[in-house]
Symmetry: C2
Subunit: 335 residues, 2 copies
């Protein structure tokens, strides 16, 4: 992890990222729901990055990094470590530029995310680890080995200015689509998304409140934010598989400079929020996306009839393994 005196990504870098990735990413829709507004006492605007290419916002940052590379750097390909969405996004981005992508993945990665990487042509290298979830050091070792074998450029999932600038493009779209927002709620894993969103929000509308939302079981950003010291979470067991990473020096610096508040939510609230989105919005979101909705459910963020954007970060949920499953004999078919 790098020090606390990092260079912050600028709004100009986000504008350039948006231009660079514009032809390839989706300008995802923003959904509204009277039912959820009533339930959560706010006017909510759901930014549907679950509909983004590769099923998550990660497509933005990965694509920006890949297209930022000088041609002589690009030929060696790109490498990243990821439990899933970054792996798929970088594989996809690299395939668009016609360069190889190598991804260091943990063996516990969910099946649908592994198949997505394969579908986009990424080469998977399984990370050896003692625990089920590899440590940061184990990931780094795997990446270094791949780099020395291939000469690939590391595109970190969040500890990378190009990545953060790409994720910020999501906030530009929100601010252009929704007037008079009071707050933006963003899930926090490694902190790349919240860094990009917060820097854009503060550059464009300094009074707009940016709230990072995190599982209690992976509360490294919350702890870091409150102690003002970057703290990592070892082997977090949250269902929000996209949020198990810990903040880096770079994202921590963005947090301290641009984020107003970090709140944490229980696992039960995450599951309830995820189900609510599926049932009411009729969209598939992954547990990580449900974390900001959980913050409203648990009143960690008070709606107060304010205009609140909620970033639904991705939709790559494992459909065979839903947390609210009950045994079911007849599949709803009459006997």
């Amino acid at each position: 992890m790098r020090g606390n005196h990092e260079r912050l990504v600028s709004i100009d870098e986000v504008h350039r990222a948006r231009e660079r990735i514009g032809p390839y990413v989706r300008r995802t829709p923003i959904m509204t729901s009277e039912t959820l507004d009533r339930l959560l006492h706010a006017k909510l605007f759901f930014k549907c990055e679950n509909f983004q290419r590769t099923g998550a916002f990660k497509a933005r940052g990965a694509l920006n990094a890949v297209w930022s590379l000088e041609p002589n750097r690009a030929v060696g390909g790109v490498v990243t470590s990821s439990s899933g969405n970054q792996a798929a996004a970088l594989s996809w981005a690299a395939s668009l530029r016609g360069i190889p992508a190598y991804v260091a993945m943990p063996k516990c990665a969910i099946k649908s995310k592994v198949s997505a990487v394969r579908r986009y042509g990424g080469q998977i290298i399984w990370v050896e680890s003692r625990d089920e979830v590899p440590t940061t050091e184990e990931y780094e070792r795997a990446v270094t080995r791949i780099q020395s074998n291939t000469g690939a450029e590391l595109v970190h999932a969040y500890d990378d200015e190009r990545t953060i600038a790409g994720q910020g493009s999501c906030a530009l779209e929100i601010l252009e689509a929704v007037a008079n927002l009071d707050a933006i709620l963003v899930p926090v894993g490694g902190g790349g998304l919240v860094s990009g969103v917060a820097l854009v929000a503060k550059a464009k509308r300094p009074e707009l409140r940016v709230v990072g939302c995190e599982p209690e079981m992976a509360d490294d950003a919350y702890q870091s934010f409150h102690t003002r010291k970057a703290i990592a979470c070892a082997n977090p067991r949250t269902i929000a598989d996209g949020l198990r990473a810990s903040v880096s020096g770079l994202t921590f610096a963005h947090l301290l400079n641009h984020v107003d508040e970090i709140v944490t939510v229980s696992e039960g609230a995450i599951i309830q929020a995820m189900r609510l989105a599926w049932e009411v919005l009729k969209i598939v979101i992954e547990p990580s996306s449900a974390v900001p909705i959980a913050a409203l459910l648990e009143k960690k963020v008070l709606g107060e009839d304010k205009r609140i954007a909620v970033v639904l970060s991705g939709g790559n949920a494992d459909l065979t393994c839903l947390p609210w499953n009950e045994p079911c004999e007849n599949m709803g078919v009459p006997r």
Copy 2:
């Protein structure tokens, strides 16, 4: 069931319906997916009626019927029989006009559909039946009893011109949004949706092919279409709970006059198609909506790189009871 010489609903009635319901219904989005296009060899346009108010296209017809009533007829309220989506839609439509809605429901109706009716203020009357799924006669008896007690106006889920005219508004939106369509695929239950869609298609673009898609296990429309005689299906056991109804005299007349073809699909293909939509489009659709996708999967309709609209009729799936469920111990959370 009425005779085969029914008056067909006109395109003008659909235009009037659209004006009547316009302020209340959603102009639902049309989604596209390169992944599904590649898989199914067509350029597909998914009309997302799962995002419609009350979670299904039924909101259109119910609302048209409710707002068609003269004030002195409206005061007594409205009544319908339905396993779910029509029940919720009519309850919702009646609540907008401030009149009571009575719904005769089978005891086997899925939980989420029952709670939707309650949420919209509909009054449920359970239909007594020998079998798990009530017969048409048992439904009719229940409705007649409600009418004689309340004076409510019957709004049939499909055997009703006002209903068909309302459903047709969905096709107006498709034709306005997508140029040069070659075909529209529509799920067929009682036939209200396909009647409305087909009459609009043939009025506006006679060369546009309209294909009704039905589960093999509830193939009354297919049988009726091919024998040119309205045939009912007794107690169909398909997973597509919205398609268990049989065509009526009125919808059969529309089928014969306006629909080009009816195809049937297996239960396995419906489940596979439903999962595909959830995984790739990241949207929640109910099994009935998956039937036209299943027709493409089973090559009952050949994509042939044509431009094909697929009506995704609703999203009210029972999330606790998914047909692809596997036993799942750790919910994807690392130990």
